[in-house]
């Protein structure tokens, strides 16, 4: 089954819409799906033109396509456990929160907290991701725990904060403090970043661009070769963060 949701024009287009109900499993039942526009609850058809094509008997047969002005729609794909969501443009914050399986494709940019505390599945963002991509909620000691996040563009600050499992790849640049408090999993940064892996206790971070303002509390333990983008690169290997008795591995390409 294919569900196409195209946004209707809104009087106040900057007010965010909270749409955690937009997940494949919800479209199997023909229940009234509602979302919130600011402090008002709205029926799905007040916000979207809805088209449904074909049948489905299980959530993994459901594909949702979101198009139009979707950059202010938050929490799409939250707790998603099967199926596919394709976003034709940008998407608002918290896309794929806690998702455990399935696939989300974002053709534009993703706002902050993309794949927050994700457990499984795949998120692929073809544009840029904002701050806290693949991170945790405030005060949460474990961020993303499993699955794959791929960002083809750049990501903001605090990418993969508290990463505990799974694999996050940012093909472009990252902002400040990627992999901060990281404790497991793998973070791959194709471009440049600043102050990677502060306070990390575990996991592996590989940086194939430049790491500016490297923290003084990582111990150089030699070098190693790693493959990225079809090429082999010689990397300096660090262990740390020693300020935090950390046993994480940070590999930075030798330029």
């Amino acid at each position: 089954m294919r569900v196409i949701l195209r946004t209707k024009p809104r009087k106040k287009p900057f007010i965010p819409i909270e749409a955690e109900a937009i997940i494949p499993q919800n479209f199997l039942r023909k229940n009234d799906i509602t979302v919130y526009e600011g402090n008002k609850e709205r029926k799905l058809d007040e916000i979207f033109y809805i088209t449904t094509e074909g049948p489905a008997v299980s959530p993994d047969q459901v594909e949702i396509v979101l198009s139009g002005e979707t950059g202010r729609i938050k929490r799409v794909g939250e707790y998603m456990n099967a199926g596919r969501i394709v976003i034709e443009g940008d998407i608002g914050m918290h896309c794929g929160n806690f998702m455990s399986a399935g696939e989300i494709i974002i053709k534009g940019n993703a706002d902050a907290w993309l794949g927050r505390e994700m457990r499984g599945g795949i998120i692929r963002c073809e544009g840029n991701a904002s701050h806290y991509c693949a991170a945790g909620y405030r005060g949460e000691k474990r961020g993303m725990r499993g699955g794959i996040v791929q960002v083809m563009g750049n990501a903001g600050d605090f990418t993969a904060e508290y990463l505990s499992g799974g694999e996050v790849t940012i093909h472009g640049d990252c902002g400040d403090l990627p992999g901060v408090e990281m404790r497991g999993g793998t973070l791959i940064i194709g471009g440049n970043c600043r102050r990677p892996c502060g306070n990390m206790t575990g996991g592996i971070c590989m940086i194939f661009g430049k790491a500016d303002a490297m923290l003084p509390t990582f111990r150089n333990t030699g070098s190693e070769e790693k493959e990225y983008g079809g090429h082999h690169h010689r990397m300096t290997m660090y262990r740390g963060d020693i300020a935090n008795r950390g046993k994480g591995t940070l590999l930075v390409k030798i330029n």
């Binding site: 965010p16 402090n39 909620y137 405030r138 901060v180 102050r195 300020a243």
Partner: protein, 429 residues
């Protein structure tokens, strides 16, 4: 008439030893206060009555009209925001939060532009803090990191640290060692035993380095960390470790520089590391006189200290998403009520522009930068002068502020109670 033990409602020190002379409804003199306190008590530039913007300028309106129109604006909004709260007493803050819940509004206080990141760090790793009385009586090493108390909290040093004799420090100025860390040489740095000049944005790295040194990992420290030499870092670490009781105070230099709450977390973790060897505490230098109170009141009622979104009827908290600067910058909200703060002066330009675009109502005794962005302003009594209520000092000690005389202005509590009643009537049972 001279009134003793008056509480100064200006900065987070909440000094409670002022002597104020009052003549009818006028403050004549202030003793013991700093220059900021003198200006607060003696300054007399109050707005006379509620004002509303009309096409050409401002018109005076009655309190009834101002409150009714405010209620209508807030009830009509899909994403109202109630901001400020740190410049009023706890009783008014409490009504404000209930009003936000009733409206399905977002309610936020000034922590959003000051120590919000400190709270985020405390939520991650806890807060080894203490009262200022403990510091005064025990601390033999005091650190001011990213804060300049001589200018911003003028009596902090004379009441609690460098110049204040304590139970275990009979000659404080000689017995206490002072470390100041900043990006420039401030007045406070001039009297420090050790002044560390950090390159802007370098706090996190310096804190990490100090943590490693305190852990005995001196060999990994490079010759210079963010402009601070290895030798000075070793010297400072030794000074920190020499304390019997150390107190670290930090300000916006730490919370609002790159890394934000991670800087504060690193400072807290340094404090914990030092406490493995001796006794250390860490405390934020809170700015507004009752900003700590706003965090307390918010937390009792909603479970969260600031940036609480009631849009869905339940409290949701996510600084960066539900903080007023972010909400305004993204042009999300469609009405704003400002109480006891001046976002027009403190917020970035894009936020101020949005405040001017939407109906903004301000409840404040004085005209300020926010007045120029507002549609309506309602003047109120000044807590600590002609209104009273509970406030929290920067170390979390509640102090009852006093009313020095009964003036003609209603208090924040009275205005907000009337507003709440109108909104409740409009929303129905």
């Amino acid at each position: 008439m001279k009134i003793e033990d008056v509480v100064c409602t200006f900065c987070g020190c909440l000094c409670d030893d002022l002597v104020v002379e009052v003549d009818g409804r006028r403050v004549v003199s202030v003793e013991n206060g700093c220059t900021l306190a003198n200006e607060k008590f003696m300054g007399d530039h109050r707005l006379q009555s509620p004002i509303r913007r009309n096409g050409k300028g401002w018109e005076h309106i009655s309190y009834d009209d101002a409150i009714r129109e405010t209620a209508e604006i807030l009830c009509d909004a899909d994403r109202p925001i109630l901001y400020g709260w740190s410049g009023t007493h706890g009783e008014a803050q409490s009504i404000g939060i209930h009003l936000a819940e009733l409206l399905g509004a977002l309610v936020d206080n000034t922590s959003t532009v000051c120590h919000g990141p400190s709270i985020l760090a405390i939520q991650e790793v806890g807060h080894p803090g203490c009262t200022l009385g403990q510091v005064k009586n025990r601390a033999d090493v005091v650190v001011y990191w990213g804060t300049n108390p001589i200018d911003a909290h003028p009596r902090h040093m004379s009441r609690y640290t460098t110049f204040a004799d304590g139970f275990f420090l009979k000659e404080a100025f000689r017995d206490r060692r002072l470390i100041v860390v900043d990006v420039r040489k401030t007045e406070s740095a001039n009297i420090a035993d050790e002044f560390i000049t950090i390159e802007p944005g370098g706090d996190y790295a310096v804190l990490s380095a100090l943590r490693a040194i305190v852990r005995g990992k001196r060999e990994i420290i490079p010759p210079s960390v963010s402009g601070v030499s290895r030798e000075q870092l070793f010297r400072v670490a030794d000074l920190l470790l020499s304390a019997k009781f150390g107190a670290i105070f930090f300000g916006l230099g730490l919370t609002m520089s790159p890394g934000k709450y991670k800087n504060v977390r690193n400072a807290i973790e340094l404090t914990e590391e030092l406490s493995r060897h001796t006794k250390y505490t860490i405390s934020p230098m809170r700015g507004h006189w009752n900003v700590y109170g706003s965090n307390e009141v918010f937390t009792w009622i909603t479970g969260y200290p600031y940036a609480v979104d009631f849009a869905r009827g339940i409290a949701f908290y996510n600084p960066g998403e539900t903080t007023s600067v972010d909400v305004l910058r993204r042009k999300e909200c469609d009405a704003c009520l400002v109480v006891g703060s001046d976002p027009g002066a403190h917020f970035p330009k894009a936020c101020a522009e949005h405040l001017a675009r939407i109906p903004t109502i301000q409840i404040d005794p004085h005209t300020n930068a926010t007045t120029h962005l507002s549609r309506i302003q309602i003047p109120v009594a000044v807590t600590g002068i002609d209104a009273e209520g509970t406030a929290y000092r920067m170390d979390g000690v509640p102090i009852r502020t006093r009313m020095l005389f009964k003036g003609e202005y209603p208090s924040d509590t009275e205005i907000l109670e009337r507003l709440y009643t109108l909104v409740k009537e409009a929303k129905g049972p």
